[in-house]
């Protein structure tokens, strides 16, 4: 029979895949965003199962809490309707599905030939690698240089986003003539 962590993993896998398919096939972009939020929560639950607790919380805060909210704000700013998207022809959808499906087929075939570890994963995991103390230890000793570079990257992205999205003064004067 199935053990409880195994059942939890299969339930989370089913939820992620089902909501992933709903993300790409929804007509309304807001629905796609919400399904993606559910998928991210399912992946965060997978992290908890693997005892990567810090990453689970960071996933919920950063991905589901900041990035998806940014997506929703942009969709509402652009005022997208559910019927404003012209769909690609059926041929292109078919070809796209074949493209993704062939990658799936190739990697599954490669997996059959490979000899992966025969030891079952320990779920829920008990090693302390995902705890924030151990993660912080590794992050600030071995990976301190990428850590500092990433802060520069975030500042660059922040400046870039503000510069890109700023309205031109010319456009403001064209739309609201004051003289």
């Amino acid at each position: 029979m199935m053990s409880v962590p195994s059942a939890i993993f299969f339930f989370l896998a089913f939820v992620s895949i089902f909501c992933g398919i709903l993300v790409i096939t929804s007509k309304n972009p807001v629905y796609s965003c919400l399904y993606l939020v559910i998928t991210m929560f399912a992946i965060a639950s997978n992290y908890v199962l693997l005892n990567a607790q810090f990453l689970a919380v960071v996933q919920i805060i950063v991905y589901a809490g900041a990035i998806m909210v940014l997506f929703l704000f942009t969709i509402m700013l652009l005022n997208l309707n559910s019927n404003s998207e012209v769909h690609k022809s059926l041929l292109f959808k078919f070809l796209g599905a074949i493209g993704g499906g062939s990658l799936l087929l190739i990697v599954v075939a490669a997996m059959k030939k490979s000899e992966l570890s025969a030891a079952p994963m320990i779920l829920p995991n008990t090693n302390q690698t995902g705890m924030i103390q151990n993660l912080g230890q590794v992050l600030f000793t071995e990976y301190v240089f990428p850590f500092e570079i990433i802060s520069i990257l975030i500042i660059t992205a922040l400046i870039g986003a503000v510069v890109l999205a700023k309205k031109d003064v010319k456009i403001i004067e064209e739309t609201n003539p004051t003289h």
Binding site: S6, L70, M111, I154, A157, A161
Partner: protein
């Protein structure tokens, strides 16, 4: 069904999510939905990295996921700013309309 979960299950799950993301990028015309499919692909890779890190008890995998999440956040900020600018200029986020560079 199964009593134990092997690393194969995580590989298959990550692979299916990645391929769903690929199909989403290839079949949709809305720029924001394409962006969301790319986020789905990034999430699938993060899941596989964490699974391997937990299998080998190596923290490097989870540190890499940390960096990937940060890069994804920066990319979403800049990418959505670009989409908003394109919308302001062409009034459409259909990627078929952003073809001014085509010869």
């Amino acid at each position: 069904m199964f009593k134990d979960i092997f690393i194969d299950h995580y590989i298959y799950l990550s692979l299916v999510l990645f391929c769903i993301g690929i199909v989403g990028v290839l079949t949709r015309k809305n720029a924001i939905i394409i962006f969301m499919s790319v986020e789905l692909m990034l999430n699938s890779v993060n899941l596989l990295l964490v699974a391997f890190s937990s299998m080998f008890a190596d923290a490097s995998g989870q540190v890499f996921v940390f960096f990937t999440m940060t890069v994804a956040a920066a990319e979403v900020a800049v990418g959505l700013a670009i989409i908003v600018m394109i919308y302001r200029n062409t009034r459409s986020i259909d990627i078929g309309d952003a073809n001014k560079l085509k010869w």
